[in-house]
Symmetry: C2
Subunit: 343 residues, 2 copies
């Protein structure tokens, strides 16, 4: 299948997923009490800051699409997994609300982040409510897989927290004190865990056993790490018009993202230049120099190769759970899509 | 039964509860990844800031005691409800971690709050993990009541969030803009909801039907509001040596606690004095004057009478679920205990 067709297939799948899952997410968010509802509606792009209607797209729905595509690939009925897909997307948005507070990020999906509009207290509280909502959707679900799904999602949230905590801790350490392995482990917890959980929930809702479920979790994790590597590349070299974030945003925030750490630990002169730049003020000119240093130190190539490698591992794990790769077309299209979104 | 005997009974019950529930909470907290575990262990008073052992008492365990006492009062086996009791206490501590960040409170249980020691990011993340841990304990629990308990706890957390959000919103409004009814509603959500949820979970784990469960929820809510009224009185007139908080702490923070709002909305000259004081800097001398104005405006008497009234309603609700009040001795002792802790 050509890349263009796979890309179109993924886009169509994401749209079908949003059609199926968004009403469930909306109903859940609209059940929140007054002010919490407003913050949550704003965050999803369904309301403006003044409470008026907005036709925002919400998220891309990659995680819910993974849930539903996994259920289908394993022979289950994806319609029975819509509630679980909505729960995963709510859990994802809980992390976005809190991460934006913690990282002091001011832009998300081309709009000011919730905390910049409503204050940190309201953003923290709305995030808390969204996590409770995610777990409530699973607790309410009468599907026989719901209890195992709850347990898995709760464990995943703890791993997400550990990843975010490690991320924060790395920012406070000197450049040479963070190893690339630690950084990969952090990214696996912070991003891979939830994509893995999405696939594992999809497997559970198809009635899969522990081995298939774990293989699907591993598929999601590996694809998730590939996704994070691409996201880190975008954080340095992305087009602000497409990402909604300023160019070099991660460098301006002194982020020790994967390509940066690869460069810093490269032992190259360019790596040393980057470390020196990270010790000084990261203003407009320094951001360009730093991006250049990451590239010359091999950080960009490393990240691109790692992303390909992780994708290969993802496909291997997928083949363990879905030996007939024809059934895995949607999952492959999704995995390819997320690792190609710079194009 | 005399007050002294009831007090002793409650203290003994709380101690027995901690003996039964603390190991379960500890095991859950110790299962957290590295740094999150450290923040959580510190918060519970089990570790010092440097990671060394501390013999802190953790919390008073009022909520887990309500779970277990309700299960027993309704003819169930409290040993089967220990996991649920631990979940409620973890959910309570999630709110403490986040509320301390949001309210910028610097002291909790006679020690610096987690965010003052580890920073706001770590305190937010540790709170998130604790909420996930609470819901994981219920998801893991094989008791037939666990799914209904999960749903109830998740809904309760959303109500707690709404209460905390209203509390924050009130702090930003002018004194005359917050009505006493709104304030009572906020306190019911912020404090009553979790005590009600604790009792409802205890009922579910005894196999109670919806009517008994709802009556026990109402018992806990009413007792919880009484508890909050007493807590508000302590926040103004409490002994710092016993509370671990500076005297007049709530006034220094311009808190619109229940006695304060009762005074501000009293239409008395003392109420107007208080409003004037709340417009100025709340330094040492002003705190004493404000406390005096709350008392002269009738805020202290109102809060004490309301607390008694709420206790009477609580007992009425309790009698609906447990007609034989001899079986309700522990619950009555706990309710009396929490409304008498100024003595």
């Amino acid at each position: 299948m050509s890349e263009a067709i796979e890309g179109r297939e993924a886009l169509a799948l994401l749209e079908r997923t949003r059609d199926a899952v968004d009403p469930r997410i909306r109903a859940a968010v609209e059940s929140l009490p007054g002010s919490l509802r407003h913050v949550a509606m704003y965050h999803f792009g369904w309301q403006n800051a003044d409470g008026t209607f907005a036709a925002g797209p919400g998220g891309k729905a990659i995680r819910p699409a993974l849930v539903l595509a996994t259920t289908r690939a394993l022979g289950g009925d994806p319609r029975a997994a819509v509630q679980a897909a909505a729960a995963v997307e709510l859990a994802h948005n809980f992390t976005l609300l809190h991460d934006d507070v913690i990282d002091e990020d001011s832009t998300r999906r081309h709009r000011p982040t919730a905390w910049t509009v409503f204050g940190t207290a309201d953003a923290i509280i709305a995030g808390d409510a969204m996590l409770a909502l995610a777990l409530r959707l699973l607790a309410e679900d009468l599907h026989p897989a719901a209890a195992a799904a709850s347990e898995r999602l709760a464990n995943c949230v703890i791993e997400l927290c550990a990843g975010q905590q490690a991320d924060c801790a790395f920012e406070e350490r000197a450049p040479h004190e963070v190893s690339l392995d630690e950084c990969v482990e952090m990214a696996t917890a912070k991003t891979g865990a939830l994509l893995g959980c999405a696939c594992a929930l999809g497997a559970l809702y198809a009635g899969a056993g522990p081995e298939e479920t774990d293989a699907m979790d591993a598929f999601g994790r590996e694809a998730g790490l590939a996704f994070q590597l691409i996201d880190d590349l975008i954080g340095i070299w992305g087009d602000p018009g497409r990402t909604g974030k300023p160019a070099g945003a991660d460098l301006a925030a002194y982020k020790k993202s994967l390509p940066v750490v690869a460069a810093l630990t490269s032992g190259t002169p360019a790596g040393a230049e980057l470390a020196e730049l990270y010790r000084g003020p990261m203003t407009g000119g320094a951001i360009g120099l730093a991006a250049d240093a990451v590239e010359r130190a091999g950080g960009k190539d490393w990240a691109q190769l790692q992303a390909s490698d992780r994708m290969a591992r993802a496909v291997h794990e997928l083949s363990r759970a879905v030996p007939d790769l024809a059934s895995a077309g949607e999952l492959l299209a999704l995995a390819e899509f997320v690792t190609r979104r710079t194009r």
